[in-house]
């Protein structure tokens, strides 16, 4: 079961997740080094590969607000983090779906760094505190993109169907 490796508050912007000064870097293979670049201790842990893939980052409300920069998603996906937040800003949420970053909308989540979480389809169970929090299901319109493996394969399928018609 995954542990919470980093916890942030409400309204964490994409400027905090991926500072603007690194925006010229676009390749998903290169963006992960700048994830939370100004949160130097966490960034150092990520770069030193001390964060196991599948670890959880817990966010508050409106996680990922601000810029539409997709690097803010690809940099987290590169470390295979799972984002559990009370709510997400619209563009960040859509970018996460499109790129296949795993995220869970959990409106009441309470967890501290180090806590162990069990992630099930309908709930997040905090094994450390023994509390359970319900999860908001993804609407079908977004789930189909997740199930297709992201927007690129989803669009490719549509394009081929269009060409065949």
């Amino acid at each position: 079961m995954p542990n919470v490796v980093f916890k942030v508050g409400d309204d964490v912007s994409t400027d905090v997740i991926y500072p603007g000064r690194y925006m010229a870097t676009v390749l998903p293979t290169e963006t992960p080094q700048f994830a939370f670049a100004d949160e130097t201790a966490f960034n150092a842990k990520l770069k030193a590969r001390q964060v196991p893939p599948g670890s959880v980052l817990v966010g508050g409300r409106n996680f990922g607000c601000g810029s539409s920069r997709e690097q803010a998603v690809s940099c987290l996906k590169g470390h295979e983090l799972i984002i559990v937040a009370r709510s997400f800003a619209r563009i960040f949420l859509q970018n996460a779906i499109n790129l296949g970053l795993r995220m869970i909308v959990c409106p009441e989540i309470e967890a501290a760094e180090g806590d162990e979480l069990e992630l099930t389809a309908g709930a997040v169970v905090n094994k450390t505190t023994g509390r359970q929090f319900s999860v908001e299901p993804m609407p079908q319109s977004r789930q189909v993109i997740i199930d297709a493996g992201g927007l690129i394969p989803y669009t490719r399928k549509r394009l081929l169907a269009q060409a065949a018609a």
């Binding site: 912007s13 400027d15 500072p19 859509q94 499109n98 669009t155 394009l159």
Partner: protein, 426 residues
């Protein structure tokens, strides 16, 4: 139906749609800036393993404007820009605005001033402030680079959920040195940075009808700072005037207006007649206070410009305040007009000379210091007062610095004193 519902019904060929419906609207205009470099990668990836050639669905409906890092700050950016130039040349994209003193500028000014956006359009852009274009009665929203690649391939946006709409009714006359920026900061402070997440702000009322397009662009630009998918002002005589007189549009306009019985999620009423100049304090845009509560705060750098407040009327009010006076010692003032056209107009009117005489540095049109990539970074512990739209931690390139947001009048008055200053008292 609301304006956005009507636009989406039209863009999908349906008689009616309602909030929550999932649609695939046709796109009238798809805008990118330097991040087209990433869009190109994703676009090519879509075609991997298919027999189809990667071709933009309709090159006439694509616009690319270089503004985020102009002129390039690094070899990496310059190489990205070169790659974009070559790609869109090969694809035949005509609405391309390179780094130039005749047609260049910030995307959210270049699009309106060239008449690329019309009432009723569906506009998407790989920039969160694409909401700006709601000022012309279009449904305009920000998307990521991969989503744009999908639009380039298909000409539609996949799986769009029709957003619910908040009706904002604004009444009253602004007092002197109070305007659109103060209004939108006040609204964001009231409903919070997430108060309109996944929703549309539709602006109505006598104050909006009197507001010129430049001011409407400010409201819609910053709607995203309340989390809104889009801000929109239903098109009216002013929209037509702007498009005819300032953007040179000659073909017929098809304004889309809301039905009398449109279904709004909620209604927000604002009276501006007693509104004070508003300041967004560090480090969130919804941390808004009337100027009296922060007046006297020392500032090291003043910035006037951006897609929010770098237009001619913004520069006019600043020039009026600064003319014949001096920027306070120990304070730096940076001014960057929103487009090359505005720069030249400001030059003609003598504003640029007045700024320089006062001690301000006038920079080329572009995003400049707003997003901390290059130009005008802040030192550790320094404070900026800026007419831009975001004050997130690290926004101007330094997480050890603080950014306050304000109107051009407050910025100019504060430049003279070196502390946050009410322009009505200077």
């Amino acid at each position: 139906m609301t304006v956005v519902e009507k636009i989406l019904a039209r863009a999908t060929g349906r008689p009616s749609v309602k909030a929550g419906d999932v649609l695939e609207p046709k796109v009238d205009l798809a805008m990118s800036h330097e991040n087209a470099a990433l869009v190109i990668n994703q676009f090519r990836e879509i075609y991997q393993g298919t027999p189809l050639p990667p071709r933009i669905w309709d090159a006439r409906r694509v616009a690319v404007i270089f503004d985020h890092r102009v002129p390039a700050e690094s070899p990496k950016t310059a190489s990205n820009q070169k790659k974009v130039r070559e790609f869109i040349g090969a694809q035949g994209v005509g609405k391309f605005h390179d780094i130039r003193g005749d047609v260049g500028g910030i995307c959210h000014q270049v699009l309106p001033e060239n008449g690329y956006v019309r009432p009723g359009y569906v506009v998407v852009g790989t920039d969160s402030h694409t909401t700006s274009h709601g000022a012309l009665g279009a449904f305009a929203f920000g998307i990521g680079a991969t989503e744009m690649a999908s639009v380039w391939a298909l000409g539609t946006v996949l799986n769009v959920e029709v957003p619910p709409t908040i009706k904002v009714i604004v009444k009253g006359r602004f007092r002197k040195f109070v305007g659109a920026k103060d209004l939108i900061l006040h609204i964001i402070g009231r409903i919070s940075a997430q108060g309109a997440n996944f929703k549309v702000l539709e602006f109505h009322g006598e104050t909006i009808r009197r507001l010129p397009t430049s001011g409407r662009l400010v409201l819609c630009n910053m709607s995203v700072e309340a989390g809104a998918t889009a801000g929109i002002v239903p098109a009216d005589e002013e929209t037509a005037r702007y498009l005819r007189e300032e953007a040179g549009v000659t073909d017929p306009l098809e304004p889309v207006l809301p039905d009398a019985g449109a279904n709004y999620e909620s209604v927000l009423e604002v009276n501006v007649s007693r509104l004070e100049p508003q300041i967004a304090c560090p480090h969130t845009v919804d941390n808004v206070k009337p100027i009296g509560q922060v007046a006297g705060t020392r500032v090291n750098q003043i910035v006037i410009g951006s897609c929010t407040n770098g237009r001619l009327d913004d520069l006019a009010v600043a020039a009026k305040i600064l003319k014949g006076r001096k920027v306070a010692p120990g304070t730096r003032m940076l001014i960057f007009p929103a487009s090359a056209k505005i720069f030249r107009q400001a030059l003609g009117k003598g504003y640029i000379g007045a700024f320089m005489q006062a001690g301000a540095v006038v920079m080329n049109s572009g995003c400049g210091p707003c997003l901390g990539i290059h130009q005008g970074a802040l030192g550790d512990g320094e404070t900026a007062l800026s007419t831009t739209n975001r004050n997130f931690k690290g926004r101007m390139g330094n997480p050890q610095a603080a950014v306050y947001l304000c109107s051009p009048a407050v910025a100019a008055a504060s430049a003279l004193t070196g502390v946050i200053t009410d322009p009505r008292k200077s």
